[in-house]
Amino acid sequence: MKKRILTLVGVLALVAALAIPMAALAIAGSNEATQSASTAPATSIEVRAQDYTTAVSTITFPSGAPGSTISNPYNDLAEAQTFGAAGTAKPVVTLVNTAPVPYKICYNISTFTNSVVTGENYLVLPKGVGCASAGDISNTVAFDADTITGFTIAETGNTSENDKKDFYLKVELNTTGGQTGISTLTILGEA
């Protein structure tokens, strides 16, 4: 009798072991279509030249009289910032978003060494709209702080080309002459 019970238990265990995976297979074999999706890495906002294509690595402000405002910086392709109507004005650099998501634009500008600059202003504009004068560059820079601006840059391929922005800068020089200072500009994006 004991042998029969043990045999029965063994058979039941075997049946269960086979039945459970078979049931799972039966479900998997039903009318289902496989779907797949993937995400691509997101690039950060690119800082480019006036052609919205070429990389920029430095921005330089030409020397000026102590205490003066310098509003004609140039990038390492020797492209200077200029003012005027749409089509005439040229930013010192452009911002381009190649990511599939829009970003809030943030910046961080470090304090100039030797305190050569006492204040700085920036302006972000849609591509090619023009900037009439240095006076229009009105947003005051908070040095050494990651600052989230009110500007956004659209996702790549935006039909209105809002994935490209013009970036203008101006600085106020210290009143002491004969000094040179350096600083770094950081453009950050937040999705």
Binding site: A13, A42, S44, T53, N108, I187
Partner: protein
Amino acid sequence: MLKKRYVELSILLLLGLSFIPSATVSATAVDRLSLCNLEGYPGDTVEAKITLEGTGPEERSGYWYTFYKQVERDDDRMDITSWIEIEPSEYVIRQGETKVFTIRVKIPRDAEPGLCGATSEEAGKTGHSDERRTYIIFKDAITGGNVYSGLLIPVSVKVLGKPNPLAPLVKIVKENITVTALIIVIAILLAVLLPRVRARKAS
């Protein structure tokens, strides 16, 4: 004749040049735009990986750091920058290269249960900037340059309450559900049938 050949050659050269693709630039890419709703108990270290990819033709040098976006009336649960370590914190990346970084979030032993580093579990979703407080940031520039670009990546942690002592057992059962079901069936059968055997033997 020679002049005509020169003209033809010049046209061909011009045509050829027009088909040379212009060099496009790209900044560094990242595989995750948020590290929100990580989970752990007080005293735990939660680890996450994040990968950067060099997409531009120029070598770029950069680094990682933490950032707290201070907002009025924030409590001390929002700034968890001191909990975060990024390894390595500095990098140099070239086109086609990928670099993996380890983000370690060390939850203090005295941390109270609840969400830390953000005001809502929705903070990780695109456009939910207002709900974020703690970030990790990477930024880099063409080596030697002074123009950096990068991204803010929000981080938040759900600090869990006292761990359930049965949690490891529940996990094992869930992971081996088929075997567990079999064991239960066998146990029930034995429990039902063995007393009968004994009863028959005794009789």
